[in-house]
């Protein structure tokens, strides 16, 4: 592999930094791993949804009688079967949810707010029958005007989605409802003075289309609501505990009555945190007395689960002729979809996050419109704003005739830099990532040939901490069974196990990790926010220290000495002139005394601050407007790369998602507010024929808030591709595109109109 490392480790590790085969790997290459849709419970029935064919419509009536009369149909449900929702806001770890809105998204109440909005559901003895029955549920609609573009939805005469939505703002509350849920404002310094001090000012407007996370596994659940009142749900989720939390609130039942079993999950990227089909499967199970499976069709996934927002952004940045940034101003409007609570908050926080900007102001608007409720998508909000801000930064570099990496180095955020939203960075690695790219063979190579260009861009993501829990039991054969609450989307069983192994001085293979259900492990937040290897790894480290303490006590007991006389180094325990390896001591400990069980429960309230710098060479075909990625290099500060292969994998995967977002992916809406490309074929995510190898440079500036220096690595890699590619296209063609995706028709038009 071509990975380069730029490391600042002061410590030699035995397990960390190695590349063991992942613990769940064999099951996943042989087809044995059990995903939710692989479950087939005895007497299981199958559910299907009825969805709105209109982007906005009053629901006049729902007649389920024809469906219910069909042989094999067991029950139907509508929003009337869900309890009246609490108007309560709850924190799901990666964003908040209002349960009234969530309930109304799960099954429409009174109005359908987007095409594909679930209106009713039916359960039958087989899945084909359920689909047929769904088609016989008669829903009478009164269509209403709809809007799917954020600036249209902000207009005073725009069709209102929610009659009671009054803008949250620092100004006086407006008298009338609108589609604007909130207006956020951050300020730092004085932008008038800042822009007055600038020699060059660039201001541009940007648009981005709605895009989907695009996980290959559709949303799927099996629910069994038993006669004793207990509800058990097997589901594909990024967070079993937040599913339990949402189910308890939506169904108004105690959390102790609900067990969530997380099966293997086929991708999430932020889109598998909110519940969709889980409450419906539960209600149908209660009504028919059987376990009920619901799996969404792919068109349902596109039309009714969380894409990430479309946006309009205006960004203005000023700089001196020496290349120092003086001020920045951003006006950002993100669509939240049909219910409030999009990702405008992080968008506002991230827009200038890569730079030491003395004066800045950011205005952000969260706007509802007739699209599915948006959800997090890998570094949610940051990719949008990086496209805008990094494009402007690049244009400033061009106008000032300064090398784009040098320009960024002059202004890069470092330890002590205050972001526009307030926080001051601890030690961060943006400068090191820029230097890594500057020193790369790729950057030093010459790109020649017509219609070719090279672009560079930075990206930032906070990375979360949040709650994680594990328990770890020592086995007499010297292995440790690790039970964790974090669902494993991309190899975290192994990255967490490796940290436990490092602390105990055993091998990664001697740890047997498993992901537990909500009854079997302590509360653990979602696998999201790039937090799992950091926070659950921290919990595993704590559990290992707990085990080590107990092992030392047991050794003292065996050797008849004081615990204080026992010392341990690299898994070997010594005391009273005797020594035992971890494995030998585990066997002896088993025969004298109680089981050794370690626990780790953490709630770190920190961001671990990931930065990335990407470099791309493109070639534009002027005949078609198609952009080909010739070469791609991504550097990223991982803090410490626990399992370098999976760090590279996160960087490569995020880069390619970002390439798809940059060049091709979009929800294509018609005038009726219908998505016209709700299939993988027409939505057209990158295939392996569309991309080259993604070269990675892992930068390791250890995180001061973690014993092994771990930062999150999952998300930030999606952020730089759109602006890096936009700048490369600018170098290739002289045209600066400001509208995502930069698809062939758009670029072709720009080339041919001379825009």
């Amino acid at each position: 592999m071509s990975t380069e490392f730029m490391t600042e480790h002061s410590t030699e590790y035995k397990v960390i930094g190695t590349r063991p085969v992942r613990h769940d790997g064999s099951d996943k290459v042989t087809g044995k791993a059990v995903y939710t849709d692989d479950l087939h419970l005895p007497n299981m029935a199958f559910g299907a949804f009825v969805r709105s064919p209109h982007a906005h419509a009053k629901i006049v009536s729902i007649d389920t009688s024809q469906a219910e009369d069909m042989p094999g149909v067991l029950a139907t449900c509508t929003s009337a079967d869900l309890p009246d929702p609490w108007d309560k806001v709850d924190d799901l770890g990666e964003g908040c949810v209002n349960y009234a809105h969530l309930s109304g998204n799960v099954l429409a109440r009174g109005k359908a707010l987007y095409k594909g909005h679930a209106v009713a559901a039916v359960v039958a003895t087989d899945s084909h029958l359920a689909e047929e029955a769904a088609s016989r549920i008669r829903v009478e609609y009164e269509p209403l005007p709809a809007t799917t573009w954020v600036l249209d939805a902000m207009k005073e005469d725009a069709p209102l989605l929610h009659d009671d939505l009054i803008t949250h703002t620092l100004d006086d509350a407006p008298a009338k409802p609108s589609n604007i849920e909130s207006h956020i404002r951050f300020e730092k310094g004085n932008i008038e003075e800042g822009f007055a001090a600038a020699d060059v000012i660039v201001e541009r407007e940007f648009k981005t289309a709605t895009v989907h996370q695009g996980y290959i596994e559709p949303h799927v659940s099996v629910a069994s609501w038993n006669e004793d009142g207990r509800l058990k749900i097997w589901t594909a989720t990024q967070g079993s505990f937040v599913v339990r939390q949402q189910m308890a609130a939506l169904l108004k039942m105690p959390i102790s009555q609900i067990t969530i079993v997380p099966c293997e999950i086929g991708g999430g990227f932020g889109g598998k945190i909110s519940v969709y089909e889980q409450p419906v499967a539960a209600v149908l199970s209660r009504k028919c007395g059987r376990p009920v499976k619901i799996i969404m069709r792919r068109d349902e996934v596109f039309e009714a689960t969380g894409p990430t927002p479309g946006s309009f952004m205006r960004v203005k940045i000023g700089a001196t002729k020496e290349g120092k940034l003086t001020a920045g101003e951003a006006w950002l409007a993100f669509d939240a979809g049909a219910f409030p609570g999009g990702v405008i908050g992080p968008g506002c926080m991230c827009v200038f996050s890569c730079y030491d900007l003395p004066n800045a102001a950011v205005d952000g608007f969260d706007v509802v419109l007739n699209k599915p409720k948006t959800q997090a998508y890998r570094a949610p909000g940051s990719t949008h704003v990086a496209f805008a801000a990094e494009s402007v930064i690049d244009e400033l570099a061009v106008q000032l005739d300064i090398d784009p990496i040098e320009f960024r180095l002059k202004n890069a955020a470092v330890e002590g830099t205050r972001r526009v939203d307030g926080p001051v960075y601890p030690r961060v690695g943006l400068v090191e990532c820029l230097e890594a790219v500057k020193n790369s063979e790729h950057w030093k190579s010459t790109l020649s040939g017509p219609n070719r260009g090279r672009g560079v861009a930075c990206g930032f993501w906070f990375n979360a901490g949040l709650k994680s829990s594990v328990t770890a039991s020592v086995n007499p054969d010297g292995t440790v069974t690790l039970v964790e609450g974090s669902t494993d989307i991309g190899g975290t069983r192994t990255s967490i196990a490796m940290q436990l192994a490092e602390t105990l001085g055993i091998s990664a293979e001697d740890v047997i990790p498993q992901v537990a259900d909500t009854d079997s492990v302590g509360f653990t937040d979602v696998t999201g926010g790039s937090r799992t290897t950091f926070a659950t790894g921290l919990a595993a480290h704590e559990a290992a220290l707990d085990i080590q303490r107990q092992m030392m006590e047991r050794a003292a007991q065996i050797w008849e000495c004081d615990t204080g006389d026992v010392e341990v180094r690299e898994g070997v325990y010594r005391g009273n002139d005797e020594s035992l390896t971890f494995s030998e001591l585990a066997l002896k400990a088993d025969s004298v005394g109680e089981a050794i069980i370690g626990r780790g429960a953490v709630d770190p309230q920190v961001s671990t601050n990931a930065f990335a710098v990407h470099l791309v060479d493109v070639e534009v075909d002027p005949e078609t407007g198609k952009v080909t990625i010739l070469r791609y290099t991504a550097s990223q500060d991982a803090g410490t790369a626990i399992h370098p292969s999976y760090v590279e994998g996160q960087i490569q995967g995020g880069s390619v998602q970002g390439i798809g977002w940059a060049l091709n992916e979009e929800y294509f809406y018609d005038d009726d507010g219908h998505v016209r490309n709700a299939s993988f074929l027409d939505y057209r995510m990158p295939t392996c024929y569309d991309v080259p190898m993604i070269e990675t440079i892992i930068v390791e500036v250890p995180n001061p808030d973690h014993p092994y220096g771990v930062r999150g690595v999952g998300e930030v890699s999606i952020v730089p591709p759109p602006p890096a590619i936009a700048s490369a296209i600018q170098r290739a063609t002289g045209i600066r595109l400001t509208d995502l995706p930069m698809s062939p028709p758009k670029l072709w038009r720009a080339i041919n109109n001379g825009e």
Binding site: R19, R22, G266, G267, I489, G649, F680, P686, C688
Partner: protein, 158 residues
């Protein structure tokens, strides 16, 4: 009205009854409990349900179960032999060529079929041949490397 179908799956004679509307994917997963092939889209766009049908990789969601009378079908469950992983599987593991794993069985089947026909494909051929399989996690880099490594490791046993 159900149709009786006789076929060979992973070297074993298999018979099943199916409705004309049922896909091979549905029969494999729901009737025969061969859940290694995955449903990602059910319309031939993602390749997660790839099986090898008479030597060719196909999307089993696009094959009607009634069409496989007399056919020879290989699924991911039959790829490892005598408790030994196939070189493609081994290289996927060692090369970290999977993250969530939902697309992996499809990639294993397409890659196996490719290497049986072209034991030494170049990167272009690998990327072209795997373009019908979507992966959203890896960015494909490690998948392509794993197939290259499998091609180099040994001629794939049939």
């Amino acid at each position: 009205m159900k149709t009786h179908v006789s076929t060979t799956i992973n070297g074993e004679a298999v018979e099943f009854l199916c409705q004309p509307r049922q896909s091979l994917l549905e029969i494999l997963r729901d009737e025969l409990s061969l859940t290694g092939c995955k449903e990602g889209c059910n319309n031939g766009n993602c390749g997660a349900c790839t099986v090898i049908l008479n030597g060719l990789p196909v999307d089993s969601c696009l094959v009607l179960a009634v069409e496989v009378e007399g056919a020879n079908i290989e699924t991911v469950e039959g790829v490892a032999q005598q408790r030994q992983l196939h070189p493609v599987q081994q290289c996927f593991l060692e090369g970290a060529a999977l993250q969530c794993g939902i697309c992996t069985p499809g990639f294993i089947m397409t890659s196996k079929a490719l290497l049986e026909k072209h034991p030494a494909p170049d990167e272009e051929e690998i990327r072209f041949s795997l373009a019908g399989n979507l992966c959203r996690c890896t960015g494909y880099d490690k998948i392509v490397h794993a197939v290259q490594a499998a091609a180099e490791s040994a001629p794939a046993p049939k």
